[in-house]
Protein backbone atom coordinates (compact mmCIF):
# COMPACT_ATOMS: atom_id res chain seq x y z
CA UNK A 1 0.00 0.00 0.00
CA UNK A 2 2.75 2.39 0.87
CA UNK A 3 4.37 1.55 -2.42
CA UNK A 4 1.26 2.59 -4.29
CA UNK A 5 0.91 5.77 -2.33
CA UNK A 6 4.42 6.78 -3.17
CA UNK A 7 4.01 6.03 -6.84
CA UNK A 8 0.69 7.76 -7.23
CA UNK A 9 2.23 10.99 -5.99
CA UNK A 10 4.82 11.99 -8.52
CA UNK A 11 5.57 15.24 -6.70
CA UNK A 12 7.75 13.57 -4.12
CA UNK A 13 10.99 14.42 -5.91
CA UNK A 14 13.03 17.26 -4.47
CA UNK A 15 12.21 19.51 -7.38
CA UNK A 16 8.48 18.85 -7.34
CA UNK A 17 8.36 19.41 -3.63
CA UNK A 18 8.58 23.03 -4.65
CA UNK A 19 5.31 23.09 -6.56
CA UNK A 20 3.38 22.87 -3.31
CA UNK A 21 4.88 26.07 -2.02
CA UNK A 22 3.35 28.42 -4.57
CA UNK A 23 1.54 31.32 -3.03
CA UNK A 24 -2.10 31.85 -3.78
CA UNK A 25 -3.22 35.16 -2.31
CA UNK A 26 -6.19 37.43 -2.70
CA UNK A 27 -5.54 41.20 -2.63
CA UNK A 28 -6.97 41.28 0.89
CA UNK A 29 -4.45 38.65 1.95
CA UNK A 30 -1.71 40.82 0.55
CA UNK A 31 -2.89 43.80 2.59
CA UNK A 32 -3.01 41.60 5.65
CA UNK A 33 0.46 40.22 5.04
CA UNK A 34 1.77 43.72 4.44
CA UNK A 35 0.26 44.92 7.71
CA UNK A 36 1.62 41.85 9.40
CA UNK A 37 5.10 42.60 8.18
CA UNK A 38 4.96 46.32 8.82
CA UNK A 39 2.55 46.76 11.73
CA UNK A 40 3.33 50.48 11.91
CA UNK A 41 1.63 51.16 8.56
CA UNK A 42 -1.92 51.48 9.87
CA UNK A 43 -1.11 53.88 12.72
CA UNK A 44 1.02 55.92 10.29
CA UNK A 45 -1.94 56.27 7.94
CA UNK A 46 -4.25 57.19 10.82
CA UNK A 47 -1.80 59.83 12.07
CA UNK A 48 -1.36 61.45 8.65
CA UNK A 49 -5.13 61.52 8.06
CA UNK A 50 -5.76 62.93 11.52
CA UNK A 51 -3.21 65.71 11.02
CA UNK A 52 -4.75 66.61 7.64
CA UNK A 53 -8.33 66.59 8.95
CA UNK A 54 -7.55 68.59 12.09
CA UNK A 55 -5.47 70.98 9.98
CA UNK A 56 -8.56 71.72 7.89
CA UNK A 57 -10.86 72.02 10.90
CA UNK A 58 -8.74 74.64 12.60
CA UNK A 59 -5.84 76.56 11.07
CA UNK A 60 -4.22 76.96 14.47
CA UNK A 61 -3.68 73.19 14.63
CA UNK A 62 -0.73 73.18 12.22
CA UNK A 63 0.79 76.20 13.95
CA UNK A 64 4.39 75.31 14.98
CA UNK A 65 3.65 76.35 18.56
CA UNK A 66 0.71 73.95 18.69
CA UNK A 67 2.66 71.07 17.15
CA UNK A 68 5.41 71.71 19.68
CA UNK A 69 2.81 71.61 22.46
CA UNK A 70 1.55 68.23 21.23
CA UNK A 71 5.05 66.72 21.32
CA UNK A 72 5.55 67.98 24.86
CA UNK A 73 2.18 66.61 25.93
CA UNK A 74 3.15 63.28 24.45
CA UNK A 75 6.67 63.09 25.94
CA UNK A 76 5.82 61.42 29.28
CA UNK A 77 3.23 58.95 27.98
CA UNK A 78 5.47 58.28 24.98
CA UNK A 79 8.36 57.34 27.28
CA UNK A 80 6.25 55.09 29.50
CA UNK A 81 4.90 53.50 26.34
CA UNK A 82 8.45 52.42 25.38
CA UNK A 83 8.62 50.37 28.59
CA UNK A 84 5.08 49.17 28.05
CA UNK A 85 5.89 48.05 24.49
CA UNK A 86 8.79 45.90 25.66
CA UNK A 87 6.59 44.18 28.22
CA UNK A 88 3.60 43.75 25.90
CA UNK A 89 5.90 42.27 23.23
CA UNK A 90 6.65 39.48 25.72
CA UNK A 91 2.87 38.87 25.96
CA UNK A 92 2.79 40.62 29.33
CA UNK A 93 1.21 43.84 30.48
CA UNK A 94 2.38 46.35 33.05
CA UNK A 95 -0.30 48.21 34.98
CA UNK A 96 2.32 49.73 37.27
CA UNK A 97 4.38 51.83 34.80
CA UNK A 98 2.75 55.08 35.89
CA UNK A 99 3.06 54.21 39.58
CA UNK A 100 6.75 53.31 39.22
CA UNK A 101 7.36 56.54 37.34
CA UNK A 102 5.64 58.64 40.03
CA UNK A 103 7.43 56.83 42.86
CA UNK A 104 10.75 57.40 41.10
CA UNK A 105 10.00 61.07 40.48
CA UNK A 106 9.14 61.57 44.18
CA UNK A 107 12.37 59.87 45.28
CA UNK A 108 14.42 62.01 42.90
CA UNK A 109 12.67 65.24 43.93
CA UNK A 110 12.68 64.56 47.68
CA UNK A 111 16.30 63.48 47.92
CA UNK A 112 17.42 66.47 45.86
CA UNK A 113 15.44 68.99 47.94
CA UNK A 114 14.64 67.84 51.50
CA UNK A 115 17.69 65.59 51.82
CA UNK A 116 19.95 67.99 49.98
CA UNK A 117 21.56 65.40 47.72
CA UNK A 118 23.33 66.57 44.57
CA UNK A 119 21.07 66.35 41.53
CA UNK A 120 23.17 63.64 39.87
CA UNK A 121 23.01 61.43 42.96
CA UNK A 122 19.26 62.00 43.18
CA UNK A 123 18.84 60.94 39.56
CA UNK A 124 20.98 57.84 40.17
CA UNK A 125 18.84 56.98 43.20
CA UNK A 126 15.82 57.32 40.94
CA UNK A 127 17.43 54.93 38.50
CA UNK A 128 17.99 52.42 41.32
CA UNK A 129 14.37 52.76 42.47
CA UNK A 130 13.19 52.21 38.89
CA UNK A 131 15.40 49.13 38.56
CA UNK A 132 14.23 47.76 41.90
CA UNK A 133 10.57 48.28 41.04
CA UNK A 134 10.97 46.73 37.60
CA UNK A 135 13.03 43.94 39.15
CA UNK A 136 10.28 43.21 41.69
CA UNK A 137 7.76 42.84 38.86
CA UNK A 138 10.23 40.67 36.98
CA UNK A 139 10.92 38.37 39.93
CA UNK A 140 7.21 37.91 40.62
CA UNK A 141 6.54 37.12 36.96
CA UNK A 142 9.50 34.76 36.41
CA UNK A 143 9.94 33.10 39.82
CA UNK A 144 6.40 32.89 41.14
CA UNK A 145 5.05 32.38 37.60
CA UNK A 146 2.21 34.78 38.24
CA UNK A 147 0.42 36.39 35.30
CA UNK A 148 1.90 39.87 34.64
CA UNK A 149 -1.57 41.40 34.84
CA UNK A 150 -2.06 40.24 38.44
CA UNK A 151 1.53 40.99 39.46
CA UNK A 152 1.41 44.56 38.23
CA UNK A 153 -2.10 45.10 39.53
CA UNK A 154 -0.68 44.28 42.94
CA UNK A 155 2.53 46.27 42.57
CA UNK A 156 0.52 49.20 41.15
CA UNK A 157 -1.21 49.52 44.52
CA UNK A 158 2.00 48.87 46.44
CA UNK A 159 3.90 51.57 44.56
CA UNK A 160 1.04 54.07 44.84
CA UNK A 161 0.88 53.50 48.60
CA UNK A 162 4.69 53.68 48.95
CA UNK A 163 4.69 56.94 47.02
CA UNK A 164 2.12 58.51 49.34
CA UNK A 165 3.80 57.17 52.48
CA UNK A 166 7.20 58.35 51.35
CA UNK A 167 6.11 61.81 50.23
CA UNK A 168 3.43 62.40 52.89
CA UNK A 169 1.25 63.35 49.97
CA UNK A 170 3.17 66.55 49.43
CA UNK A 171 4.11 67.94 46.02
CA UNK A 172 7.67 69.17 45.47
CA UNK A 173 7.81 72.34 43.39
CA UNK A 174 10.21 72.59 40.48
CA UNK A 175 11.46 75.96 41.68
CA UNK A 176 12.85 74.25 44.80
CA UNK A 177 14.74 71.65 42.77
CA UNK A 178 18.25 71.81 41.32
CA UNK A 179 18.25 72.97 37.69
CA UNK A 180 19.34 69.56 36.39
CA UNK A 181 16.08 67.95 37.49
CA UNK A 182 13.90 70.40 35.58
CA UNK A 183 16.34 70.58 32.66
CA UNK A 184 14.12 68.15 30.70
CA UNK A 185 11.45 70.84 30.62
CA UNK A 186 13.65 73.48 29.01
CA UNK A 187 13.15 74.10 25.32
CA UNK A 188 15.24 75.14 22.34
CA UNK A 189 14.39 76.37 18.88
CA UNK A 190 14.59 74.26 15.73
CA UNK A 191 13.37 76.22 12.68
CA UNK A 192 10.87 78.12 14.78
CA UNK A 193 9.53 75.02 16.54
CA UNK A 194 10.19 74.82 20.25
CA UNK A 195 11.49 71.40 21.22
CA UNK A 196 11.87 70.38 24.85
CA UNK A 197 14.82 68.39 26.14
CA UNK A 198 12.33 65.82 27.42
CA UNK A 199 11.01 65.23 23.89
CA UNK A 200 14.57 64.74 22.64
CA UNK A 201 15.26 62.26 25.45
CA UNK A 202 12.13 60.37 24.53
CA UNK A 203 13.12 60.23 20.86
CA UNK A 204 16.61 58.97 21.78
CA UNK A 205 14.97 56.20 23.79
CA UNK A 206 12.88 55.25 20.76
CA UNK A 207 15.93 55.14 18.49
CA UNK A 208 17.93 53.03 20.96
CA UNK A 209 15.13 50.56 21.68
CA UNK A 210 14.20 50.31 17.98
CA UNK A 211 17.80 49.42 17.16
CA UNK A 212 18.07 46.91 19.98
CA UNK A 213 14.76 45.23 19.10
CA UNK A 214 15.48 44.96 15.39
CA UNK A 215 19.18 44.29 15.28
CA UNK A 216 20.24 42.34 18.33
CA UNK A 217 19.75 38.76 19.39
CA UNK A 218 18.20 40.03 22.61
CA UNK A 219 15.56 41.91 20.62
CA UNK A 220 14.71 38.84 18.59
CA UNK A 221 14.43 36.79 21.76
CA UNK A 222 11.99 39.33 23.21
CA UNK A 223 9.76 38.76 20.18
CA UNK A 224 10.22 34.99 20.31
CA UNK A 225 9.31 34.78 24.00
CA UNK A 226 6.15 36.79 23.42
CA UNK A 227 5.24 34.92 20.28
CA UNK A 228 5.49 31.41 21.68
CA UNK A 229 7.12 30.89 25.04
CA UNK A 230 7.41 27.14 24.65
CA UNK A 231 9.04 27.20 21.24
CA UNK A 232 11.44 29.88 22.46
CA UNK A 233 12.40 27.59 25.33
CA UNK A 234 12.82 24.63 23.01
CA UNK A 235 15.00 26.77 20.75
CA UNK A 236 17.35 27.17 23.68
CA UNK A 237 16.34 30.67 24.77
CA UNK A 238 16.37 31.26 28.51
CA UNK A 239 12.84 32.62 28.77
CA UNK A 240 13.10 33.78 32.37
CA UNK A 241 16.32 35.66 31.74
CA UNK A 242 14.75 37.48 28.78
CA UNK A 243 11.64 38.36 30.81
CA UNK A 244 13.72 39.56 33.75
CA UNK A 245 15.86 41.75 31.48
CA UNK A 246 12.73 43.24 29.93
CA UNK A 247 11.29 44.24 33.31
CA UNK A 248 14.63 45.69 34.39
CA UNK A 249 14.95 47.65 31.13
CA UNK A 250 11.41 48.91 31.71
CA UNK A 251 12.48 50.12 35.16
CA UNK A 252 15.35 52.13 33.66
CA UNK A 253 13.09 53.64 31.00
CA UNK A 254 10.51 54.56 33.65
CA UNK A 255 13.18 56.33 35.71
CA UNK A 256 14.03 58.40 32.63
CA UNK A 257 10.29 58.99 32.25
CA UNK A 258 10.21 60.34 35.81
CA UNK A 259 12.91 62.85 34.92
CA UNK A 260 10.95 63.95 31.84
CA UNK A 261 7.79 64.22 33.94
CA UNK A 262 9.48 66.49 36.51
CA UNK A 263 10.64 68.79 33.70
CA UNK A 264 7.31 68.73 31.90
CA UNK A 265 5.16 69.60 34.95
CA UNK A 266 7.92 71.56 36.70
CA UNK A 267 7.00 69.63 39.84
CA UNK A 268 6.93 66.18 41.36
CA UNK A 269 3.47 65.31 42.54
CA UNK A 270 2.48 62.01 44.21
CA UNK A 271 -0.97 62.33 42.66
CA UNK A 272 0.23 62.72 39.09
CA UNK A 273 0.05 59.98 36.56
CA UNK A 274 -3.13 58.21 37.59
CA UNK A 275 -4.10 57.89 33.93
CA UNK A 276 -0.61 57.16 32.68
CA UNK A 277 -0.81 53.38 33.14
CA UNK A 278 -3.76 53.01 30.82
CA UNK A 279 -2.61 55.78 28.48
CA UNK A 280 0.66 53.96 27.87
CA UNK A 281 -1.22 50.76 27.03
CA UNK A 282 -3.47 52.79 24.72
CA UNK A 283 -0.46 54.15 22.83
CA UNK A 284 1.01 50.66 22.43
CA UNK A 285 -2.25 49.12 21.23
CA UNK A 286 -3.10 51.93 18.80
CA UNK A 287 0.46 51.62 17.54
CA UNK A 288 -0.32 48.15 16.27
CA UNK A 289 1.46 46.05 18.88
CA UNK A 290 -0.46 42.92 19.71
CA UNK A 291 -1.56 42.39 23.31
CA UNK A 292 -0.95 38.70 22.68
CA UNK A 293 2.75 39.39 22.32
CA UNK A 294 5.42 38.86 19.72
CA UNK A 295 4.07 41.32 17.20
CA UNK A 296 4.57 45.04 16.81
CA UNK A 297 7.20 47.71 16.57
CA UNK A 298 8.42 50.46 18.81
CA UNK A 299 7.82 53.05 16.07
CA UNK A 300 4.17 52.02 16.01
CA UNK A 301 4.04 52.94 19.69
CA UNK A 302 5.46 56.40 19.00
CA UNK A 303 2.82 56.83 16.30
CA UNK A 304 0.18 55.57 18.73
CA UNK A 305 1.22 58.09 21.38
CA UNK A 306 1.22 60.87 18.76
CA UNK A 307 -2.22 59.82 17.49
CA UNK A 308 -3.68 60.10 20.98
CA UNK A 309 -1.97 63.48 21.43
CA UNK A 310 -3.17 64.74 18.05
CA UNK A 311 -6.75 63.58 18.64
CA UNK A 312 -6.95 65.19 22.08
CA UNK A 313 -5.40 68.43 20.87
CA UNK A 314 -7.28 68.56 17.58
CA UNK A 315 -10.68 67.83 19.10
CA UNK A 316 -10.18 70.43 21.78
CA UNK A 317 -9.11 73.01 19.16
CA UNK A 318 -12.23 72.07 17.19
CA UNK A 319 -14.15 73.20 20.28
CA UNK A 320 -15.44 69.79 21.32
CA UNK A 321 -15.97 68.81 24.94
CA UNK A 322 -13.18 66.80 26.58
CA UNK A 323 -15.61 63.87 26.79
CA UNK A 324 -15.45 63.56 23.01
CA UNK A 325 -11.68 63.20 23.22
CA UNK A 326 -12.13 60.24 25.54
CA UNK A 327 -14.79 58.85 23.25
CA UNK A 328 -12.47 59.15 20.24
CA UNK A 329 -9.61 57.42 22.07
CA UNK A 330 -11.97 54.62 23.05
CA UNK A 331 -13.05 54.12 19.45
CA UNK A 332 -9.40 54.13 18.34
CA UNK A 333 -8.53 51.38 20.83
CA UNK A 334 -11.37 49.14 19.70
CA UNK A 335 -10.50 49.67 16.03
CA UNK A 336 -6.81 49.00 16.66
CA UNK A 337 -7.46 45.76 18.52
CA UNK A 338 -9.90 44.63 15.81
CA UNK A 339 -7.29 45.27 13.15
CA UNK A 340 -4.77 43.28 15.19
CA UNK A 341 -7.19 40.36 15.45
CA UNK A 342 -7.73 40.46 11.72
CA UNK A 343 -4.00 40.47 11.03
CA UNK A 344 -3.51 37.55 13.36
CA UNK A 345 -5.93 35.37 11.43
CA UNK A 346 -3.53 33.20 9.53
CA UNK A 347 -4.15 32.08 6.02
CA UNK A 348 -4.75 28.35 6.16
Amino acid sequence: MSQQTTQSHPQTGPHDLASEFLDRQTPLDRVRNLLHRYPAISPAIVLVLAVIVFGFLNERFLNPANLSLITQQVAVVGTLAVAQTLIILTAGIDLSVGAIMVLTSMVVAQTATNNGMPAVIALLLGLIVGLAAGGLNGILVTRLKLPPFIVTLGTLNIFVALTLLYSNGATVRGTDMPALLTWTGTTFDVFGVRISVGVVLMLILYVVIAFVLAKTAWGRHVYAVGDDKESARLAGISVNRVLMSVYLAAGVILAIGAWIQIGRTNAASPNAGADLNLDSITAVVIGGTSLFGGRGTIWGTLLGALIVGVFRNGLSLAGLDVLYQTLAVGVLIVVAVSVDQWIRKVRK
Binding site: M1, S2, Q3, T5, T6, Q7, H9, Q11, T12, G13, P14, H15, L17, A18, S19, E20, F21, L22, N33, H36, R37, K215, T216, A217, W218, R220, H221, Y223, A224, D227, D228, E230, S231, A232, L234, A235, G236, I237, G294, R295, V346, R347
Partner: protein, 266 residues
Protein backbone atom coordinates in the same frame (compact mmCIF):
# COMPACT_ATOMS: atom_id res chain seq x y z
CA UNK B 1 10.91 5.38 -6.23
CA UNK B 2 9.99 2.06 -4.72
CA UNK B 3 10.71 0.69 -1.32
CA UNK B 4 13.34 -1.78 -2.44
CA UNK B 5 15.33 0.88 -4.22
CA UNK B 6 15.38 3.17 -1.26
CA UNK B 7 16.01 0.96 1.66
CA UNK B 8 19.48 -0.17 2.50
CA UNK B 9 20.26 -3.49 4.14
CA UNK B 10 19.96 -3.17 7.85
CA UNK B 11 22.79 -5.33 9.00
CA UNK B 12 26.14 -3.93 8.13
CA UNK B 13 29.56 -5.47 8.60
CA UNK B 14 30.77 -6.24 12.09
CA UNK B 15 32.93 -3.10 12.03
CA UNK B 16 29.94 -0.76 11.81
CA UNK B 17 29.58 1.23 14.98
CA UNK B 18 26.34 2.95 15.81
CA UNK B 19 26.46 6.75 15.75
CA UNK B 20 23.98 6.80 18.63
CA UNK B 21 23.55 3.91 20.99
CA UNK B 22 21.53 3.39 24.14
CA UNK B 23 22.33 0.44 26.39
CA UNK B 24 19.83 -0.97 28.89
CA UNK B 25 18.08 2.28 29.73
CA UNK B 26 15.84 2.16 32.79
CA UNK B 27 13.51 4.97 33.72
CA UNK B 28 10.83 4.77 36.38
CA UNK B 29 8.25 7.32 37.38
CA UNK B 30 7.38 6.41 40.94
CA UNK B 31 6.05 2.87 40.64
CA UNK B 32 5.47 3.14 36.92
CA UNK B 33 8.24 1.63 34.85
CA UNK B 34 8.66 3.75 31.73
CA UNK B 35 11.73 2.00 30.34
CA UNK B 36 12.74 -1.45 31.44
CA UNK B 37 16.25 -1.97 30.10
CA UNK B 38 15.85 -0.67 26.56
CA UNK B 39 18.70 -0.66 24.05
CA UNK B 40 18.69 1.14 20.75
CA UNK B 41 21.24 1.51 17.96
CA UNK B 42 21.22 4.13 15.23
CA UNK B 43 23.71 3.51 12.42
CA UNK B 44 25.14 6.16 10.12
CA UNK B 45 23.07 6.93 7.05
CA UNK B 46 19.86 5.25 8.12
CA UNK B 47 16.35 6.16 9.07
CA UNK B 48 15.36 4.30 12.22
CA UNK B 49 11.67 4.36 13.03
CA UNK B 50 10.50 3.91 16.62
CA UNK B 51 6.98 2.60 16.92
CA UNK B 52 4.91 1.31 19.78
CA UNK B 53 1.52 1.53 21.37
CA UNK B 54 0.65 4.32 23.77
CA UNK B 55 2.50 3.78 27.04
CA UNK B 56 5.06 1.47 25.45
CA UNK B 57 7.86 3.84 26.42
CA UNK B 58 8.44 5.39 23.02
CA UNK B 59 8.42 8.99 24.16
CA UNK B 60 10.32 8.22 27.36
CA UNK B 61 13.01 6.56 25.27
CA UNK B 62 13.22 9.54 22.94
CA UNK B 63 13.22 11.96 25.86
CA UNK B 64 16.17 10.13 27.39
CA UNK B 65 18.03 10.29 24.08
CA UNK B 66 17.37 14.00 23.64
CA UNK B 67 18.06 15.09 27.19
CA UNK B 68 14.48 15.90 28.17
CA UNK B 69 14.57 13.07 30.75
CA UNK B 70 17.52 11.59 32.62
CA UNK B 71 17.54 7.77 32.63
CA UNK B 72 17.85 6.08 36.05
CA UNK B 73 20.17 3.41 34.72
CA UNK B 74 21.90 2.54 31.50
CA UNK B 75 24.17 4.54 29.28
CA UNK B 76 24.07 6.47 26.03
CA UNK B 77 26.92 6.57 23.54
CA UNK B 78 27.36 9.11 20.79
CA UNK B 79 30.05 8.20 18.26
CA UNK B 80 31.16 5.48 20.65
CA UNK B 81 31.77 7.91 23.51
CA UNK B 82 29.58 7.86 26.61
CA UNK B 83 27.44 10.95 27.03
CA UNK B 84 25.01 12.10 29.72
CA UNK B 85 22.49 14.81 29.01
CA UNK B 86 21.02 16.84 31.83
CA UNK B 87 19.02 19.22 29.67
CA UNK B 88 17.81 19.27 26.05
CA UNK B 89 20.48 21.91 25.40
CA UNK B 90 23.19 19.37 26.29
CA UNK B 91 21.91 16.93 23.71
CA UNK B 92 21.69 19.68 21.13
CA UNK B 93 25.21 20.84 21.88
CA UNK B 94 26.37 17.26 21.36
CA UNK B 95 24.70 17.21 17.93
CA UNK B 96 21.31 15.62 18.57
CA UNK B 97 18.61 17.87 17.13
CA UNK B 98 14.98 17.22 17.92
CA UNK B 99 11.95 18.37 15.95
CA UNK B 100 9.13 18.35 18.43
CA UNK B 101 5.60 17.37 17.68
CA UNK B 102 4.35 20.88 18.33
CA UNK B 103 7.02 22.07 15.87
CA UNK B 104 8.60 24.61 18.17
CA UNK B 105 8.64 27.32 15.56
CA UNK B 106 7.83 30.89 16.42
CA UNK B 107 4.86 31.81 14.20
CA UNK B 108 5.33 35.57 13.95
CA UNK B 109 9.05 35.37 13.19
CA UNK B 110 10.20 34.84 9.63
CA UNK B 111 11.76 31.70 8.21
CA UNK B 112 15.37 32.82 8.59
CA UNK B 113 14.84 34.05 12.15
CA UNK B 114 13.31 30.73 13.04
CA UNK B 115 16.18 28.76 11.54
CA UNK B 116 18.61 30.67 13.73
CA UNK B 117 16.42 31.20 16.79
CA UNK B 118 18.45 30.85 19.95
CA UNK B 119 21.78 30.79 18.10
CA UNK B 120 21.77 33.97 16.11
CA UNK B 121 24.90 34.70 14.15
CA UNK B 122 26.46 37.91 15.33
CA UNK B 123 28.25 40.52 13.32
CA UNK B 124 31.99 40.49 13.40
CA UNK B 125 33.73 43.06 15.56
CA UNK B 126 32.69 44.95 18.63
CA UNK B 127 29.07 45.43 17.52
CA UNK B 128 28.52 41.69 17.56
CA UNK B 129 30.68 40.80 20.52
CA UNK B 130 29.56 43.50 22.90
CA UNK B 131 26.10 44.51 21.71
CA UNK B 132 25.09 41.15 20.26
CA UNK B 133 24.18 42.78 16.93
CA UNK B 134 23.02 40.12 14.49
CA UNK B 135 24.30 39.42 11.01
CA UNK B 136 20.80 39.35 9.52
CA UNK B 137 21.98 39.33 5.92
CA UNK B 138 24.37 36.45 6.45
CA UNK B 139 21.75 34.43 8.29
CA UNK B 140 19.26 34.94 5.46
CA UNK B 141 21.77 33.82 2.86
CA UNK B 142 22.72 30.65 4.66
CA UNK B 143 19.07 29.96 5.46
CA UNK B 144 18.36 30.05 1.72
CA UNK B 145 21.28 27.74 1.03
CA UNK B 146 20.15 25.30 3.69
CA UNK B 147 16.59 25.17 2.34
CA UNK B 148 17.92 24.66 -1.18
CA UNK B 149 20.05 21.80 -0.05
CA UNK B 150 17.02 20.07 1.42
CA UNK B 151 15.06 20.59 -1.80
CA UNK B 152 12.69 23.20 -0.45
CA UNK B 153 13.53 25.64 -3.20
CA UNK B 154 10.38 27.76 -3.26
CA UNK B 155 10.79 28.74 0.33
CA UNK B 156 13.26 31.16 -1.21
CA UNK B 157 11.69 34.12 0.52
CA UNK B 158 13.10 33.49 3.97
CA UNK B 159 11.58 36.76 5.21
CA UNK B 160 8.05 35.33 5.20
CA UNK B 161 6.58 34.84 8.66
CA UNK B 162 6.24 31.16 9.47
CA UNK B 163 2.54 31.48 10.27
CA UNK B 164 1.89 32.29 6.62
CA UNK B 165 3.21 28.88 5.63
CA UNK B 166 1.27 25.65 5.28
CA UNK B 167 1.68 22.86 7.81
CA UNK B 168 4.09 21.00 5.56
CA UNK B 169 6.18 24.10 4.97
CA UNK B 170 6.37 24.77 8.70
CA UNK B 171 7.49 21.22 9.27
CA UNK B 172 10.06 21.77 6.55
CA UNK B 173 11.35 24.83 8.39
CA UNK B 174 11.56 22.87 11.64
CA UNK B 175 13.40 20.02 9.92
CA UNK B 176 15.70 22.42 8.12
CA UNK B 177 16.54 24.01 11.43
CA UNK B 178 17.39 20.64 12.91
CA UNK B 179 19.58 19.84 9.93
CA UNK B 180 21.17 23.26 9.67
CA UNK B 181 23.63 23.09 12.51
CA UNK B 182 25.97 20.34 11.55
CA UNK B 183 23.98 17.96 13.65
CA UNK B 184 24.92 14.30 13.92
CA UNK B 185 21.44 12.95 14.54
CA UNK B 186 17.98 14.36 13.85
CA UNK B 187 15.04 13.11 15.89
CA UNK B 188 11.59 13.70 14.41
CA UNK B 189 8.63 13.27 16.77
CA UNK B 190 5.44 12.47 14.84
CA UNK B 191 6.32 14.78 11.94
CA UNK B 192 3.32 13.79 9.85
CA UNK B 193 0.71 13.57 12.60
CA UNK B 194 -1.02 16.85 11.77
CA UNK B 195 -0.51 16.80 8.01
CA UNK B 196 -2.57 15.78 4.99
CA UNK B 197 -1.53 13.16 2.47
CA UNK B 198 0.36 15.45 0.10
CA UNK B 199 2.10 17.34 2.88
CA UNK B 200 3.02 14.09 4.60
CA UNK B 201 4.67 12.94 1.41
CA UNK B 202 6.69 16.13 1.25
CA UNK B 203 7.90 15.64 4.79
CA UNK B 204 8.77 11.99 4.13
CA UNK B 205 10.75 13.15 1.12
CA UNK B 206 12.52 15.61 3.39
CA UNK B 207 13.43 12.73 5.69
CA UNK B 208 14.95 10.88 2.71
CA UNK B 209 16.82 14.01 1.63
CA UNK B 210 18.15 14.35 5.13
CA UNK B 211 19.40 10.77 5.13
CA UNK B 212 20.92 11.24 1.67
CA UNK B 213 22.74 14.25 3.07
CA UNK B 214 24.32 11.81 5.50
CA UNK B 215 22.34 12.68 8.63
CA UNK B 216 20.82 9.66 10.34
CA UNK B 217 17.23 10.13 11.46
CA UNK B 218 15.16 8.70 14.28
CA UNK B 219 11.51 8.88 13.32
CA UNK B 220 8.76 8.41 15.87
CA UNK B 221 5.44 7.75 14.23
CA UNK B 222 2.08 6.11 14.69
CA UNK B 223 1.55 5.93 10.98
CA UNK B 224 2.54 2.47 9.74
CA UNK B 225 2.47 3.28 5.99
CA UNK B 226 4.75 6.26 6.61
CA UNK B 227 7.10 4.19 8.74
CA UNK B 228 7.30 1.40 6.18
CA UNK B 229 7.67 3.95 3.41
CA UNK B 230 10.71 5.72 4.74
CA UNK B 231 12.41 3.66 7.46
CA UNK B 232 15.45 1.43 6.97
CA UNK B 233 14.92 -0.32 10.27
CA UNK B 234 12.08 -0.28 12.75
CA UNK B 235 12.49 -0.41 16.51
CA UNK B 236 9.33 -1.72 18.17
CA UNK B 237 8.65 -0.76 21.79
CA UNK B 238 6.31 -2.81 23.91
CA UNK B 239 5.60 -2.49 27.65
CA UNK B 240 8.78 -0.54 28.33
CA UNK B 241 11.00 -2.99 26.44
CA UNK B 242 12.33 -3.37 22.97
CA UNK B 243 10.13 -6.06 21.49
CA UNK B 244 12.08 -6.30 18.24
CA UNK B 245 14.03 -4.45 15.60
CA UNK B 246 12.79 -5.33 12.15
CA UNK B 247 13.15 -4.04 8.60
CA UNK B 248 10.38 -3.28 6.12
CA UNK B 249 11.74 -6.18 4.03
CA UNK B 250 11.73 -8.81 6.73
CA UNK B 251 8.30 -8.06 8.11
CA UNK B 252 4.97 -6.75 6.92
CA UNK B 253 2.92 -4.04 8.53
CA UNK B 254 0.63 -6.68 9.97
CA UNK B 255 3.63 -8.39 11.56
CA UNK B 256 4.78 -5.10 13.05
CA UNK B 257 1.37 -4.43 14.55
CA UNK B 258 1.28 -7.97 15.92
CA UNK B 259 4.65 -7.49 17.63
CA UNK B 260 3.56 -4.11 18.90
CA UNK B 261 0.44 -5.51 20.51
CA UNK B 262 2.12 -8.68 21.75
CA UNK B 263 0.18 -10.99 19.46
CA UNK B 264 3.44 -12.21 17.94
CA UNK B 265 7.16 -12.10 18.51
CA UNK B 266 9.82 -11.30 15.99
Amino acid sequence: MTLTEETTPAAGGPARTPILEARSLVKTFGRVVGLDGVSLELYPGEVLAVIGDNGAGKSTLIKCLTGAEIPDEGSIFLDGKPVSFKRPQDARAAGIETVYQNLAVSPALDVASNLYLGREVRKAGILGALFRVMDTKGMRQSARAELNELGISTLQDVTVPVENLSGGQRQAVAVARAAAFGSKVVVLDEPTAALGVRESNQVLQLVRNLRDKGIPVILISHNMPHVFDVADRIHIQRLGKRAATITPQSHSMTDAVAIMTGAATA
